[in-house]
């Protein structure tokens, strides 16, 4: 078992609790940078896909896992990010300006939408955000002059100071771009978690009444969470556009929103790791399924709804048997080894919580 011997308050503020975890993440990062030399281009593309989903997952995790506000409308923000980025570049802005700006604009759109929507709680909030997902489709069609409507758009080749990046012809370069964005988003997320705003998010999630009594402005904090969440989601959307190579009004559908939410639940709510674990499941499941299908029936029989069905099944199994998601399971396994042979079976059993003051709503 590792024991953290702390000698300064800095120890609790640092990104990594000890040398060991620092080296684990350093090795992970090294592998990530060396990946193009280890695997072929097809799988590199798949890993890129995982990372893009993970960024979107981080975005939703900030809102749902950290602040406790469910959203089924995040596909709409993927779309906003994607279209904004493409339109800004078509207007002549360089990628290096257009891309960050696309995220910021998505965030601002998010804040504007959050002001009325976040007055709702729980299931009502989820329903209101479903409306966003559905509306996005129509709005893209209505704004045809900018968005290209049903026929869609093709993002231009990315150029950063004359350096060209394209998903199909140069997957390695595109992978490094996505990796860089992933690292930046993860760092932002980590930094927020260890600063006052991150704690305010958790406070709003766990008890709005006492958060208010401690001086946290509920509406402003939720708005902030929504904005930041949408910003990260917007970046992911822009990258998704490049990854797909073409997109139209149907690319960012309600199904994408639902997949995103399932992803973070399966991965483990409230943790950065969860977003990545979930993304691996979401991105590799279709491949794994098609491989499995080929093994069972060698013919090209298409089973409609198979993917969705399996997804739903996995989600149900997770909610029943491992509500803390893959990351929660990983923590349990790690603790078991760390404490061996003293780990007890009920160590992670959830305690019944005590009564709460009647909610002052």
């Amino acid at each position: 078992m590792r024991i953290h011997f702390k000698t300064s308050y800095e120890h609790d503020i640092r990104l990594f609790p000890d040398r060991w975890s620092f080296s684990v993440y350093a090795v992970l990062l090294l592998i990530a940078f060396g990946l193009p030399y280890l695997i072929d281009e097809f799988y590199l593309g798949e890993v890129t896909n995982v990372l893009i989903w993970a960024i979107a997952g981080l975005g939703l995790m900030l809102l749902t896992g950290q602040t406790g506000q469910a959203s089924l409308g995040h596909a709409a923000f993927l779309a906003v990010g994607c279209y904004t980025n493409t339109i800004l570049i078509e207007m002549g802005l360089p990628f290096i300006v257009a891309f960050p700006l696309a995220g910021i604009i998505t965030g601002l759109v998010g804040v504007v939408i959050a002001i009325p929507v976040l007055r709702l709680h729980g299931i009502y909030l989820a329903i209101a955000t479903i409306a966003l997902s559905i509306l996005a489709d129509d709005i893209i069609v209505l704004l045809e002059p900018w968005t290209g409507g049903v026929s869609g758009k093709f993002p231009e080749m990315i150029t950063i100071f004359g350096f060209e990046i394209e998903r199909w012809s140069m997957p390695t370069r595109f992978y490094y771009l996505v990796l860089a964005v992933t690292i930046i988003c993860t760092l932002f997320y980590r930094n927020l978690l260890r600063s006052p705003l991150g704690r305010a998010f958790a406070a709003v999630r766990d008890s709005e009444v006492s958060a208010t009594a401690m001086g946290v402005h509920i509406a402003r904090t939720k708005g902030m969470a929504f904005g930041l969440s949408c910003m990260i989601t917007g970046w992911s959307g822009a990258l998704m556009g490049y990854y797909a190579g073409t997109f139209n009004n149907e690319t960012f559908s309600l199904v994408i929103s639902i997949t995103l939410l399932m992803m973070i639940v399966i991965g483990g709510l409230g943790s950065i790791h969860g977003a990545f674990f979930g993304a691996v499941v979401v991105a590799f499941l279709p491949q794994a399924l098609s491989i499995a299908k080929d093994m069972v029936s060698s013919g090209g029989v298409a089973i409609p709804g198979l993917e969705t069905g399996v997804f739903g099944l996995i989600l149900i199994l997770f909610i029943l048997f491992e509500p803390m998601g893959i990351y929660g399971r990983w923590l349990k396994i790690r603790t078991w080894f760390e404490l061996f042979p003293f780990a007890r079976k009920d160590m992670f059993k959830r305690q019944k919580s005590y009564l709460k003051t009647e909610r002052l709503r």
Binding site: P196, A202, A203, S207, T212, G215, M224, L355
Partner: protein
């Protein structure tokens, strides 16, 4: 000099008068207790001071400022911190994080500062931590520093909640039944803490409590409420021997 001055406060829920034309004032540096039977409106008075409820009538004055001009989240900025009757902690966070939320009103860094975790945020975090550690030392919470609230026993949660309120560095501390559900020993601890909070930290305490032993042990003045109205006010001994109070608790003709 009175720190908190409430005059003619009235609150109605529909036809029910929860607080009826209540006036009292809390002096700087004293421990002031509110007692009364269940449903007397004690917690409601707290919720009025925290601005969770909008009063029907009355004036609320804190240190020369009108409390009614403030929203619920701005009350903490004035230096009023509170605990809740049934414990309202952030269950999925550690004790340390809970206490740090108490420092929320002292933050100065901007969103961008926090996203990049600039040296300024780092310095500020260290200061918050120092303040929180003082509270941890004061309340003997060292063994629980990094424990999740969800796994803590009731008595400890009660203390953590007191700690969170103290971490905000208040001038007025509102304690809603600080000893409810505590063992005799824990209640005794709570008594010393309340004494020390007043004497060492110079914080004014306004509390609601049923345990008359605790009330008469620590408080300078006691206000007895019944049906939202003032029944008696004075030293603990005076209030306990007041015929109206005895009648409200035990019924007429005793």
């Amino acid at each position: 000099m009175s720190l908190l001055k409430i005059e003619n406060a009235t609150l109605k829920f529909g036809g029910v008068v929860a607080v009826n034309d209540l006036s009292f004032s809390v002096d700087e540096g004293e421990v002031y207790a509110i007692v009364g039977p269940n449903g007397a409106g004690k917690s409601t008075v707290f919720n009025l001071i925290s601005r969770f409820y909008e009063p029907y009538a009355g004036t609320f004055n804190f240190d020369g400022q009108n409390l009614l001009d403030r929203n619920a989240d701005e009350v903490a900025d004035l230096g009023i911190a509170r605990t809740f009757q049934n414990i309202e902690l952030f269950d999925h966070a550690t004790v340390l994080q809970n206490l740090l939320v108490g420092r929320h009103r002292h933050r100065k860094s901007t969103l961008l500062d926090q996203m990049f975790f600039t040296p300024r945020v780092r310095r500020e975090e260290r200061r918050h931590r120092e303040a929180v550690e003082e509270v941890i030392d004061f309340l003997d919470l060292q063994p629980y520093r990094n424990k999740m609230i969800a796994g803590l026993p009731y008595g400890v949660r009660k203390v953590v909640e007191l700690g969170r309120a103290l971490a905000s560095g208040p001038r007025l501390l509102l304690l809603d039944e600080p000893a409810s559900g505590l063992s005799v020993e824990e209640t005794q601890d709570m008594r010393w803490w309340i004494d020390d909070i007043r004497k060492q930290m110079g914080i004014t305490v306004l509390m609601v409590e049923h345990d008359m032993g605790l009330v008469s042990g620590v408080s300078d003045r006691v206000l007895a409420l019944a049906d939202g109205a003032k029944l008696a006010e004075g030293t603990p001994a005076e209030v306990q021997s007041d015929p109206a109070v005895i009648e409200a608790y035990l019924g007429a003709g005793v």
